[in-house]
């Protein structure tokens, strides 16, 4: 079992609203290996765009060998993907990175699953696999997506920047407004959110795992494009630079410096 680049076939694609799309692709070997928090690299057909696009694994259907990707159109690559229809092919490399430590959310614990914007998708696969009690906190700018799909797995709290749904503000505002408590945080989202969660976890002395983003080239740890500042010396270069694609994207909060 190892990373593999496959030509996957699009099984379905739907628009979740705004510029967010949900695509199921058939990719047996990658799906078989995938764990929550890992990502895949998607390649465009347009040869003018060379680099793969990293997208988190949002759900897997291991029986059918299907992988779900939920992404926002922000540029030319995601724009291209959004036009794919059932039966189209797409090249995928994966699974990449390390997932969330499921053992940190063992039975008896109470976990926060926190997603901000396009950091929400990987939390769904995590919700499905974490054995502990789950409180899901989702932050949006305005239009909601995926939120209803979390309800089978735990109570879901919403924050929106414009106040159109749930708490007006960010995910921490929602946690405070609802007076939520927990033993461990699993989170993915924009850097300012992750930074605030790190401080919150430190203050409340709870365990915290953050999934980071950085510009990537190889996706497998060879090019050193995607490093983050780390507290401990990294095993690759011994210089406090961990590779998001290889040692990450999930890090223990104390481990990373923003």
């Amino acid at each position: 079992m190892a990373k593999i680049k496959e030509i996957a076939v699009v099984a379905s694609q739907t628009r979740l609203g705004d510029d967010v799309y949900s695509m199921w692709i058939k990719t047996k070997e990658i799906t078989a290996q995938a764990v929550p928090g890992q990502f895949v690299d998607l390649y465009t057909k347009d040869g003018a765009k060379l680099l793969p696009r990293p997208i988190s694994i949002c759900e897997t259907d291991k029986d059918k060998g299907l992988l779900r990707l939920v992404y926002r159109v922000v540029g030319g690559g995601t724009e291209e993907f959004s036009h794919y229809k059932e039966g189209d092919t797409i090249e995928v490399l994966g699974p990449l990175g390390n997932g969330f430590p499921l053992e940190a959310g063992g039975k008896g614990k109470k976990a926060f699953l926190i997603g901000g914007g396009i950091g929400i998708p990987p939390m769904l696969e995590l919700a499905k696999h974490l054995p502990c009690e789950k409180q899901v906190v989702l932050g949006y700018r305005d239009v909601l997506f995926l939120n209803e799909e979390f309800s089978p797995y735990g109570d879901t709290y919403i924050a929106t920047e414009d106040g159109s749904a749930g708490t007006k503000g960010n995910v921490l505002d929602a946690i405070r407004e609802q007076g939520l408590k927990g033993d461990v945080i699993f989170a993915c989202g924009p850097t300012p959110m992750l930074k605030a969660l790190k401080a919150y976890a430190y203050e409340h002395e709870i365990e915290c795992y953050l999934s980071l983003e950085e510009k990537m080239a190889c996706g497998i740890g060879a090019c050193l494009a995607c490093v983050c500042k780390s507290k401990s010396v990294d095993e690759h270069s011994m210089v406090h630079n961990k590779r998001v694609c290889k040692e990450g994207p999930v890090f223990k909060a104390e481990e990373v410096e923003f």
Binding site: A48, L51, E214, K215, M216, A217, G221, A222, S237, V239
Partner: protein, 300 residues
């Protein structure tokens, strides 16, 4: 059918190697391709001490290419010798260590330290556009190229490859300078200095402002420089710059390269280097080329 080529006495099973900095020391890619099938693995630049590299973002995609300003992050020669050389020794491929430094002394320190290690060749990077202190400054002045080549050669026990910068008016002059300094082989091209601006955030796309442009976008410049260098000196040349497939590799060989390095292509297709080896064989079969050496510099 012979695909073996000879670089200053080192015989490669085939002319395909990996470009420094795009392939680590091979470990990551070994999960996907068989390193035994490559002519050589060229490692990421190794310095005398660990280098932290540049702040992020370190890369940006461009049209048909990318710019990078990694800044030569590397663990330094001691870790490299302990960890990466033993890993590579497990494979039937040649080991070429790319060497970087800030001063002539830095380079020499690495070259001396590697003298008795089981590495096949040294590639001296005097053309990195992404570090202030060293690299490219050496590579843009023919006197400096000649001088550092001569110094390195004094201490090197392995054949020395000088890796030239394309950010120069006349690559032939630089090639001759390296030859005069005693270089055994030339590598070209390193990246072209480029810049990308994010117009929405109104800032530079890579933190270092400028970075090195690589990928198929630069191939025509690289082929031209390999052709010019091959016509200026007698040394064997390792050609690189935008090689994506076997056709591209053959283009470099016909222009005068004895071997080729595959860089950015690895990011688009992790199997690229291995596929290129097979593709060259396919071309040779199609055109009844008995020995790959018939193709070297065949278009002039």
């Amino acid at each position: 059918m012979n695909t073996k080529v000879n670089l200053a006495g080192v015989e490669l099973n085939n002319p395909v190697m990996t470009a420094s900095g795009t392939f680590g020391s091979g470990e990551e890619y070994s999960e996907m391709i068989n390193l035994n099938h490559l002519g050589a693995v060229v490692t990421k630049g190794v310095a005398n001490v660990p280098w932290p590299g540049n702040p992020t973002p370190r890369i940006a995609e461009t049209y048909g290419g990318m710019i990078n300003a990694i800044g030569l992050q590397n663990p330094g020669m001691e870790v490299f010798i302990k960890r990466d050389i033993p890993f590579l020794k497990k494979y039937d491929t040649k080991i070429i260590v790319n060497v970087c430094g800030r001063t002539t002394e830095d380079y020499i320190e690495v070259v001396e330290r590697l003298a008795d290690e089981p590495v096949d060749m040294l590639e001296i990077n005097i053309s990195c556009p992404n570090v202030k202190e060293g690299g490219i400054a050496f590579g843009q002045d023919p006197k400096a190229v000649e001088a550092i080549t001569r110094e390195v050669k004094k201490y090197a026990k392995q054949p020395v490859i000088m890796k030239l910068s394309p950010n120069v008016t006349d690559i032939g002059v630089m090639a001759k300078a390296a030859e005069a300094g005693g270089a055994d082989v030339l590598s070209l091209i390193n990246t072209l200095t480029g810049m990308k601006i994010d117009i929405n955030r109104r800032t530079f796309a890579v933190a270092n402002k400028t970075g090195g442009l690589s990928g198929p976008a630069i191939k025509p410049i690289a082929v031209r420089m390999v052709y010019q260098a091959a016509n200026a000196v007698k040394l064997p040349i390792i050609g690189m710059g935008g090689i994506m497939n076997a056709e591209d590799a053959i283009e470099f060989i016909l222009a005068g390269a004895t071997a080729v390095s595959v860089g950015t292509a690895n990011f688009r297709n992790p199997y690229a280097a291995e596929e290129i080896v097979r593709g060259i064989e396919g071309y040779m079969k199609k055109y009844n080329v008995e020995d790959i050496r018939e193709l070297i510099g065949a278009v002039r």
